[in-house]
Assembly symmetry: D2
Homo-oligomer: 341 residues x 4
């Protein structure tokens, strides 16, 4: 039996474990002010070609989204997101608990288009009652999206241009960033993100780390006193070096992108084999997440071979399921799946 439920079932990349062991009894100062964190920050700044960026290490995705958003918005502002955005649906109201409305726009395969955002803001500004409404104060997109899709560079440039036109920040949730950057046909780089976003994060939890998200603020001054807001949000790790170690390893010698590419390659292999066996792709995705629409019979057969997530029940009786590979997926896991399909 295989397991492709999600991309956070295993622990951490062996090189991280090794580094943890090697540094375990070192004594360092807390809260991310140690040398290992500094080293990790330098590597990330370099990878982003953003020498002046602030880099903050937080523990998890919901926490990072909530902390970034409340740090950047003023009370009268909300955050624009796709109606399928993680912050809209699956963060238990963390953004609202911070006092801000999520202003949803219908998605297209999990994505927000620059045109839709522009039209939304324009309609808001034209509304006679605009001063009685929540102001759009930020645009949030996930890259890749919750549907495993990605933005092209030109789409991201268009979103960034709309944000700058209206003087509101662009925030990219990169909980699965590696899998997006290394996706089939992807043309976005870390440097592009640093150039086009006001804040984004590099997800560790789903890409090789035990936990950890590295928030990059290309123009550091755009979030003053972020350290204190992180502390207030309960998001400051006492033994901060645990985060530094993980990102220092991941950003050494290209490990982060390499393991992400591996996961994408295994997903491609899986997809091709499944399509060949007659499974129908529900949404075409170039990343580590695959969505299929299965008949009852296919559902039963696949369930006997692997575990996965059920996503949605279609009107025609079919079930949409998701299979996810990860940095930890072995070639032989895919081989085994293919053999048993």
């Amino acid at each position: 039996m295989q397991h492709f439920d999600n991309d956070y079932m295993e622990g951490m990349h062996p090189l991280i474990l090794e580094r943890l062991a090697a540094t375990n009894m070192l004594k360092t100062t807390g809260y991310g002010c140690d040398d290992i964190c500094e080293s990790a920050r330098s590597r990330i700044r370099e990878a982003c070609d953003a020498p002046d960026a602030a880099v903050h290490f937080l523990v998890g995705g919901t926490q990072t989204n909530a902390t970034v958003i409340r740090a950047m918005l003023r009370p009268y502002e909300g955050v624009i997101a796709a109606d399928t955005g993680h912050i809209s649906l699956h963060e238990a109201g963390a953004i609202e608990a911070g006092g801000h409305k999520v202003l949803t726009i219908p998605h297209s395969e999990g994505k927000l288009s620059a045109e839709a955002v522009d039209a939304y803001i324009e309609a808001f500004r034209r509304d006679e009652a605009w001063e009685h409404m929540v102001q759009p104060g930020m645009v949030y997109v996930s890259f890749p999206t919750e549907y495993g899709t990605i933005y092209s560079l030109s789409e991201l440039e268009a979103l960034s241009a709309v944000c700058r036109k209206w003087s509101i920040p662009l925030f990219v949730d990169g909980a699965r960033l590696g899998y997006g950057l290394m996706a089939e046909g992807a043309d976005v780089t870390l440097r592009d993100l640093a150039r086009l976003c006001d804040v984004f994060y590099i997800g560790g939890t789903k890409v090789g780390a035990m936990f950890g998200e590295a928030v990059v603020v290309p123009r550091a001054e755009s979030i003053p006193h972020f350290f204190t807001t992180i502390k207030q949000s309960g998001a400051l790790l006492a033994k901060g070096r645990m985060l530094g170690i993980q990102f220092d390893v991941l950003f050494n010698d290209g490990l982060y992108l390499r393991i992400a590419r591996h996961a994408v390659e295994q997903a491609i292999r899986m997809r091709e084999a499944m399509v060949a066996k007659g499974y129908e792709v529900f949404i075409p995705t170039p990343t580590n997440q695959l969505f299929f629409a299965l008949t009852a019979e296919q559902l039963e057969r696949l369930s006997s071979v692997t575990t996965f997530s059920e996503w949605e029940h279609l009107a025609d009786g079919r079930t949409v399921i998701r299979l996810a590979t990860s940095w930890a997926t072995r070639e032989e896991d895919i081989d085994a799946l293919i053999a048993e399909l």
Copy 2:
């Protein structure tokens, strides 16, 4: 030129002004603990046939919605509302500022159906990820709705039954309650509201008062220490008797319903005249708000006769406008409008 922009353009009913003058130099204790407030509370309890109800006087509608909702919900809960609900769109994020998500359901002529609410909650409970999502913790409906429509008694009973099935409170925003209770064909009474809701309010601001909303909690214990939450929300009027005076007058000898009925009657006269002149009703409404879809030519003509609110621009080029009568509308205002149409 007539003015039918909205239902809060004038001051207060003359009987209230008279009572204000008569009591002006009385010395009373503050914060709604005076005898006049007590008298008003008694009259409201009687009108609702709810002898054990708690009655609290607040100043305005957004304030009342925000205060009631944060008093009743726990952190992990949100409030279900129609996507056109006032709390969804036109309260500048007051509910979210209190920490709670508004869970929107598509409306039907401004209304939520019991079926839609039931289906929403059922889907939530069935969702594998439900513990990662905001729990439906209350149902909010406005009566009449933002589109001037009303719930029938059987619709309200169905909503109440769904709420009780799932053990969540039903909250009725009655900012324009009088106009709903006295609407054409309305079959809901204050007693029904006290029987079917967990909390509702009787709007004064739009129905004869200068300001003021009377919150009725039929089972007082369902909101413990509400006085303190009202104070904390900045919603406790120091000279609370100003609220007591207004509701004591409005609930003396049926004034509240009588002036509401008057407004509805003037709206009916207006509608009939306009329809006769070829204006097309956009949404049929039995209350004091009328919605018409106007051609450019009609828009221009009507603009020369009266002021009103523009609501929406239709794809076919027409403009949806709203005309509102109120307790203060005089028969001769309608006569004058009709004469000039």
Copy 3:
């Protein structure tokens, strides 16, 4: 029996009532965008010699404090106040409900000294752990204080200088502002407040109005989109002209200061008579609030003559009480009290 419990027992100044009656059936636009509000704003700007000030009308004191503070602070900031400050003790946690800590400093007769504020901020900045603590982001003082005392112009200038030294705003809660400006020996004017503060408000509720506080922001741009934050805070009155009317009358021909001066004069008469009768002043106050420390026998005697507030029980068995005059106190009320002492 007389009543000197507090300064908000009566309705409104007769000239306001007259104006309410005269304008009652006028139709105006809502939310404070009408001509009467504009006129009141102009009068206030003129009285403050602050032609560029933004003037916003809110309903009550706690509401105003909470709304101003959350509009100005960032998440990592708190507000410095005297430990006796109204926001510290008697607003039911309204500031914390808005997400911010009240950073208290021991008072001296209800006042904060510039030295104490400066020392507090300096200690904060020197603290190794400052980034783990709430940053002082604003200084709040009440004028007059909760103990009826006032700041001299030089004290206020010193506070303002400390705030500017540390680049944080100074906020003056003027719920009883008139009684402070017209106090015995007072040397502070509205112009001084506009020059020295970043935001302050002119209390109406306790000085002649039914309700209402006029917030003055001398440099309007220091609170962007304040209208929307006011709406979100439930503090935007639909029939905003009710606030405009009150302040337009109060700021016509010096009425506000004149009635405040009257209250202070009656307090002086009361104090002199009581001291002559052997009542001991607890805190010397130059405003409309008087504090006496009474023996049990005095307490009993005074209780038979007037009502008042009990403030505190001293270790020596005496009781501190407060008597308050107001704009509505008549000379004959004081005469009657004196006669019966």
Copy 4:
């Protein structure tokens, strides 16, 4: 040079590292729903003799305090704490960001007395203005305190009795719980905590873990839907088994208490040696934290031998410093310090 700055300078206990390595490539479900977490929960319930307790694993202390407090309090309630409490001073306003006031009472060597809490609540209830004030809704104590002191069993029983008398929950912050339970003369056990508290947590971060705090709710129903509130607070670890692993190891075969006892023993050795060398104890502490008041000369000398934290500057020119041992302190570290004193 030695380092006794604090008790979170090293990584994790070697047995935890070993277990991490052994389980690293296991595939488990997320969010703490795996078997390892279940095993850890069972061990903790057993150690607490609390078979019905809910046990939740969170990441850090500030996060845990903020999440527990907002989960338990209603909007009108605040939390009583010593003025030196971690939540009062060093959590950057996390409690207020969740909407609640910290109601401080002067400490005595870092502790709250049952008498002081009782007197506070009694005074609150007697206050005429109580409904305008934040209600005490919970008592928070840290065990051991921020000053390294501990409560005796009888003191804790008295606190618990006061809480039950007033029907408010008792919350024990056990960020350093092990060091308190194993302190010199300590007579409190985990079973006592489960019996006397409504919620408490067992600190991992400072007692052998990389990170992690285990929240114990003896009567699980007292915090409904806590999982969702944890998620909303950004405190739910995706790879939750990392927390389970750590507590499963720490609660296997008494490791947690054993390593805590070790730290206390090293602190005793350190204290005795320092006292013998003429260093003056500032506050006598039976735990792993030692506080000394040093002259300038002693400060200089000690600085050449070890690092430590500066705590306070006394009026007499001396400096209060803190030295902390931990589970990771080796006997030879203390030997080395003693040799160089």
